[in-house]
Each structure stands twice: as C-alpha cells, then as structure tokens.
Symmetry: C2
Subunit: 333 residues, 2 copies
C-alpha cells in the first residue's frame, strides 16, 4: 500500500498501523507513545494536559450540532478523560473561498456557545483561506490545554474484576451525521450526542479515587476504544450485550444500513474503567448529570483472553469484538 | 461582502476586519484581544504561551523546506517571540486520499528533524483523511506550548526613540514558494528563510532587559506587522529604506513580478523593538547566531505621525507604509 486511503483516517486498524509504522517510528517519544487522548506534560511545576483534533465532518451542520460545537466538545472531552480541567482552546480555521459569511457566523456563534457551557476560553487562533475546490467548506482544528487534577489514570492501574462503564447510548453522533449527509431519515429521529463532558466527569472523579482510566469512544467507536485499552495484553474485557445502551433510532439505522453500533462514533460519551467496589457510587454520580443519565456497567476486566474483547451476546453466544478494520463511516468528525 | 474571499486569509486588512467583526465580537476575551502571536495564560502557578497555526502552503515542498519543517518553525517562532521557551507541539494532519506515502514520510521526517533542531517534542497528534478533491494534498496544524521566561513584552512598553530591528533580509520564504509554484526561476536562486528562531531570540533576550516587543513578520510581511504594532495609536514608526535588508534574488523577483518586499512573508525572521541604549548589544547577540547574521536597525519609534508607519525612501522621499490590502500571495504558509 503506497498511498493514503480513507481507512487510514478511520480510527481503526489501518490508522493504528500508520501511526505505529510512521508517526511513532519517526516522532516517538515517551509522551507520544502513551497514545492517550491528551498528552500529560510538565511545564515548570504544573502538570498540564495538551491535545489536538482536526474536524472535517460532512455535512458541517447536522442534527444536534455543527462542526463548531463539535470542535469544542471533542477537545474538551479529550482533556477531561485525562483527568484535566479544560481551560484554554486554540482555534485554527481552514476555509474554502466562497463560504458564505452567514454559515461562518453560525459556526463561530456555536463555538462561543459551546465554549461558554464548557467554561473554556478561546485564547488564540489562526485563519487560512484556500481556493475553491482546495478544501471542503471549512476544516477546524481545536487544540486545548487543561490542568490535571486527577492523576495516575493509566492502563497500568487496571485489574481483573474492574468494571467497564459507559455514560450513555452508542452511536448517535455517527447516525445523525450520516442521516443528514445521505438524506436518510429513520422512524425515530436521531440527534448527535455531541457535548462537553467535563462537568459529568468531574462529578464522577469527585466520588471515587479508584477510577483507573477514562476514554471517549469517538472514531472507531466503543469496540475500537476497548481494543486499545486491552492492547497491553495484560488483561481482557468481557462485555454483556444486553447491558450496552443503544437507542431505538440507532438500532433501526444499524439494521437498515448494516452497521454495528459498537463501531459507531460518539462525541458525548465516556468509558470508565473503575474498581468494582466503586461502581455504585460512580454510576450514581454520573447519572446525576443529565449527560450521564444513561450510564451503565457494560462489562468487566478479565484475567483470561488477555488482549481481547469478548461479548456475551443476547442470544447467549460469545463474540470476539475486534478493532474496526477499514472505514465504516468517513468524515464523521 | 457576504462570502469569504482569498484576501480574508491574507494577513492584511480584510483578515483584520474579519477578525474584529466576527471572531473578536463573538469569542473575544481579554487574552484573545491581545492578538499576540501566542496567548500567554496562567495554568496554576505557571505562565504559559499557547499558539496555533494551520499550514496550507502550496506547493508542499519548496526550496529551503517543506510544509512539515514550516509547520514546526512557524509555531516555534510564535512561541519564541512571546518570550517563551517552546516545549511541546501538537500535530494535526488533514490528508487527501491518494497522497503517496513517500511524500508523507518525507514530511514527517522533516517535522522530526525540525523539532530536534528546535528542541521541542511532538507530544500529541491527530490524523484525518478526506476524499480526493476535498483538500489539497495535506494541511498541517501545529499548536504549541512553551514556558514564558521573559515577561512584560507588550506594545505598552514601547517609547519614542526605541529602535526597530529586523533579524535578516525580507521575503525569501514567499519568493521561494512562489518561484516553485509558478515554475519561475530568478538569476539568483532564492531559498526560503524558514527556520526556528528560539535559539537566536534567547541569545538576544539574555543580553537585554529592555526588549519591548518581538514579532515574526509572516503573512502580510514586515509592513503589516509594523502596522499592527502602531495600531494602538500611541506612537508611529519611521523606517529607513536604505537599511532594510533585501537580497538580490528577492529584489529581482519583486521587480519582475511587481511585488513589494515589505509585504512578503518571512518564516525565519523576527522584528524587535528595543530601548535605544540596548541596540548595540542586541544586534551583537543576534549576529552571533547564524540565523541573525543579517540583523539591522531599520527604523525608530516616533512620537509624531502616531498610528502610522512611514519610510524614508532611498531617493529621499517619505512614503506611507500601509497595511497590506488584498491578497498579495495566497497559500504562502
């Protein structure tokens, strides 16, 4: 394979292979190699989380959000799942010549509203304009920094019997974007779950000192995120299909289009690995937040089938949940 | 004007008007309003510089560099001119489907080499791939954080009689990119000046406590940068044309193509405003660095013609140097 394909941006196997064979090989250092949602770095005496994401979602406006709010939510969440309080965001715009100002204004207003809700400031920015046909309407990069207040989150802390919690139902973001893009509507209207989870996460971190790891299941979905978590090979994960929350609309869309909700991107959900004795209080704290009302324990860390994710299906079988291979849905974020 | 045009990305008047009428209006806060190359923010007890830039240069490989090295240099310099030691960079790639891996590998290697020279680490990244025709080969966002070690840089510190110093000749980056893009060659081959100035700048800051402000004259060139500096209206700037360093190749290209070197982007030059009594030692420190060998005092801060930049031309006339209006050269960085 000597050319970059859409699947290299999928979040799945091809992307991980590109990351390892090129980016890690050339640029690798002890911080980058951790491959967490944010880098945790020392600046003087402070521990700081630093993250970046480029947003190329198509269409730029979708049910439940737009590229502007998404760009704030995604970066706020990448900081939050690393135990940081998000503080400052940068905003890098690449705009296609001819974009109408009304659309740009709507996006900027949406960024402002999302930043206000999350309590972050946009403190630095950059605007580039390229000729018509050289980009698709607008691409947005948001990078962010936050102050780490809950330290020690690490896959190294994970132990057999730890619980796997997800904060809400899967795949609403992906299906909302897809339905708008393809002009498909489903019986139940699906709206993106895109939202800033810093408040919800802070609530959970307040009640438990035994949260081992958090991740947000964006590109590649829950299935890929859990495979990344088990990749050290020290433990496995056993999921219970019956406990995994999937809304009626997403279920219907998956049946119609042949998607698997386990691989659909969320932009307002977090996965928690927590000590079993704290499961109850973490769930309670999460459910107190509107964004975490649908929180569920969906599985456990196991000492067997190390490095793999298995799921007990509703029909009683055992299914291997592999990492996403190929591209299920391009330009979903 | 209800659509975004190329000139909105020029670094000149149209861009400033878009920034003020939309970005500042909607997103403005005391940090963003400073409009410096980096935001200087507090995280806990540390003062941190934070900046972002997206690179859309065309062609992606040009004499003296490529989009990868440029993306490192530009962000390192934005941190450096704010008195910060650049520490960590993020890397956000938007890649067009079909880009050959050899080119991508070359760019990543170039990022690595530039980061090593500047002494910064790439600590976090993101890769998106879009369909053929939805971007032009590759766009790169680098954001960066650094630790502020020289504080108090501000236009507020600037006084009449302060000197204006530039660290080298103007416009080589713009002309190198343009010559490659248009397939024009000039009598003297022009190579981009793109480089990381953190070392050179640290040398100057070490010898003087009276550097008032630094800027890097990228898009919009020296003319636009100086107009930004005088925009408070508290003082003016008087330049001496005979002292402004322009190489033979750039001079020739400007004559041939009708460009004004004052508005051409540099990617390896810095402008210093310093107290007059420190001019000698700052120049000496700058010239000790290979990248600052061509440093010159090119003008002075004046108490008259406030808010304006004037230049005494070689023929003895006085010329108003306005901010760039329109787009002189699109996609130069």
């Amino acid at each position: 394979m000597d050319r970059i394909t859409i699947s290299h941006g999928s979040g799945g196997k091809a992307m991980h292979s590109l990351i390892d064979s090129l980016f890690m090989k050339e640029l690798g250092n002890s911080i980058l190699r951790r491959k967490s949602d944010s880098a945790v770095v020392k600046v003087g005496s402070e521990e700081i989380a630093f993250t970046t994401d480029s947003y190329v979602v198509k269409p730029i406006i979708f049910p439940g959000g737009d590229i502007g709010s998404l760009a704030v939510h995604g970066t706020v969440n990448d900081l939050s799942v690393c135990g940081a309080r998000p503080l400052y965001l940068s905003l890098g715009l690449v705009i296609e010549e001819g974009l109408d100002k009304k659309t740009l204004t709507r996006i900027i207003k949406s960024i402002n509203a999302a930043a206000k809700i999350a309590g972050v400031l946009i403190v630095t920015g950059d605007t580039k304009v390229v000729e018509k046909g050289s980009c698709d309407k607008i691409f947005i990069n948001t990078s962010g920094i936050g102050k780490v207040y809950y330290s020690g989150l690490s896959t190294d802390k994970i132990r057999p019997q730890d619980v796997v919690i997800v904060s809400g139902s899967l795949g609403e973001h992906a299906i909302a974007v897809l339905s708008k893009r393809e002009g498909i509507s489903f019986g139940t209207n699906v709206k993106s779950d895109s939202s800033s989870l810093n408040g919800m996460i802070a609530g959970a971190l307040k009640v438990s000192q035994n949260i081992r790891l958090m991740r947000d299941p964006t590109r590649g979905g829950l299935g890929t995120t859990l495979n990344e978590i088990v990749s050290s090979g020290r433990f496995g994960i056993a999921l219970e299909e019956k406990d995994i929350p999937v809304s009626e609309g997403v279920r219907e869309a998956c049946e119609l289009l042949g998607f698997d909700s386990l691989y659909l991107a969320c932009e307002g959900r977090a996965v928690f690995i927590a000590a079993p004795q704290d499961a109850g209080k973490v769930l309670k704290a999460l459910r107190r937040d509107r964004l975490g009302e649908g929180s569920r324990v969906i599985g456990r860390i196991t000492s067997d089938h190390k490095g793999k994710v298995y799921m007990r299906t509703t029909s009683g079988g055992l299914r291997l949940v592999d990492m996403l291979s190929g591209e299920q849905l391009p330009r979903i974020c």
